[in-house]
Subunit: 330 residues, 2 copies
Amino acid sequence: MVGIAEVARAAGVSTATVSRALSGRGQVSDAARAKVQAAVDALGYVMSASASSLASGRTRNIGVLVPLLDKWFYATVLSGIADVLSRHGYDIALYNLTDDPAQRAGVFDTSLRRSRIDGLITLTVELSDPERDGILALGMPVVAVGAPNHGIPALTVDDRAVAHAATSHLIALGHREIAHIGSGRAGGEVPARRREGYEQALHQAGIAPRAELFAHADFTIEAGHAAALELLRRTDRPTALFAASDEMAFGALFAARELALDVPGDVSVVGVDGHGMSGFFGLTTVDQFPQAQGERAAHAVLAALGLEAPAGAPELPFELVLRTSTAPPA
Amino acid sequence: MVGIAEVARAAGVSTATVSRALSGRGQVSDAARAKVQAAVDALGYVMSASASSLASGRTRNIGVLVPLLDKWFYATVLSGIADVLSRHGYDIALYNLTDDPAQRAGVFDTSLRRSRIDGLITLTVELSDPERDGILALGMPVVAVGAPNHGIPALTVDDRAVAHAATSHLIALGHREIAHIGSGRAGGEVPARRREGYEQALHQAGIAPRAELFAHADFTIEAGHAAALELLRRTDRPTALFAASDEMAFGALFAARELALDVPGDVSVVGVDGHGMSGFFGLTTVDQFPQAQGERAAHAVLAALGLEAPAGAPELPFELVLRTSTAPPA
DNA sequence: TTGAAAGCGCTAACAA
DNA sequence: TTGTTAGCGCTTTCAA
């Protein structure tokens, strides 16, 4: 393996100059820089990450904490993060959190504390208080996307406004019996806010939210399906369904089909996310541009590390996308 | 940050003994081991990854090369990998390959060569020859899942057999006009083999494959949709469709619905993958257990690193799952 | 702008 | 079984 000493020799300079030329820190003459670059290219030199990290304290590596890697939303945000970081020469350390306490402990107590990363991005994870404290104690920039775990700076969409937009759309179409599939406080901040936005929109339209029109689901397509079946089988069937995620909305669409209900003839459905398949389902949804959220998060850590100018507000955009799953009630 | 010296002092032993006690290499008395562990717990010591790597040459980090992070299949395999590695105290370095030559060059020429990882897993990526050579030159264990890039040991399902199973199922139902959505040589090894398996099954049934019944698609739902539209609009419409991936099959199902064709009444559809949503679509598919593929790949690198006993054959299982999208032709 | 040299925190001979 | 110590390959003072 060719090291910095060999490069220095080939370039006719000291190792210190090679280091400075390659890192961009400190002054190096153009002549020296050129010689170093030539030697690097000729020898195919690549700096050892561990040696550099040990000496400098910088790792050029960002940790990403993800729950449920195989869910479209997280995978898409991750893809946005990877794009930006890769373009800046940063590597990604991926930490997939499961429900297994031992596995989580390993991540929080060991992996994250090995000094392997310069910063951390957490994707909508509900953290326990000790977990959150552990993260803050890492002493490195942390950016949360989605969930505002108290104390961790978060990039969030205004989930109340998202739900409000979806619900208002249904109200504007003339619906009064609007059910909601999601979760309350138990599911964490995000679902809770979406439910609030839903209820707020109803209130503003002079409609009292009815407990029977709320169905709990854990954001999977299966749970959305089950919840929708229950709601749509009621004798006083709602004319519209607002699901707190597109995958749950997909489940609802399948449920409607099973019950031989026409969408949007018999029931309108709205989701949240902008899932890649929502177009095919004709699903009206509130797109929250997850790929862009990942990109924003990556830029935010880079900014916190002083590598980029800080970006603007932490508020993320969203947009109601109208498709064929919503229409006025029959 | 508490270091090994502080632990040694607290435990009343030398740093060498601490190192041995924690790494499990070399002989350490039970008494010493206990004292070290107590000191570690008391001080909350976690070893510095860079210092340890620099001195030992081991990183406790495995690289994973992924194309298209936001596709269900890759995300699911990745999830399986993460599960196993995390359980073994290994971290993951995630490298997302894009089509951008500069980005790819950065990954192959720099990121992978920084001595940041002990081993590498590549997920069905079509690598250029120099890229593949670069990987082999890394001098570390490499495991490919899916694509048998020449020279890299691969865990693969028998893609010919997979396609053969899907096609034979349609033939057994009585279909003769069976179209295929996938790609030929151009798309890489995997699609090519699936097409071979498809044609082989036809031949064995005495059916001559017809060029008009092959439609190219790039494994996205959009492309599957477009390909199916084209096939299903033919006057001599095929009675069955074999799509080389579930997502393309989903596209085909949407296409059938748009054309007011009944599935399976007017046309049968089979996919490949065992996608999480295939059950909801009622899609008959050949499940290839992607999560388990990831787990197998992780075990394979660990075995190559001498941390586990080598597992069995590199052949991965698959299974035809019958659902409601296939039936005898009308 | 450059170079010499002292670490960064750990591991692994080697000697005891 | 343990301790001493020389690196591992860089970065960063400090002095020139």
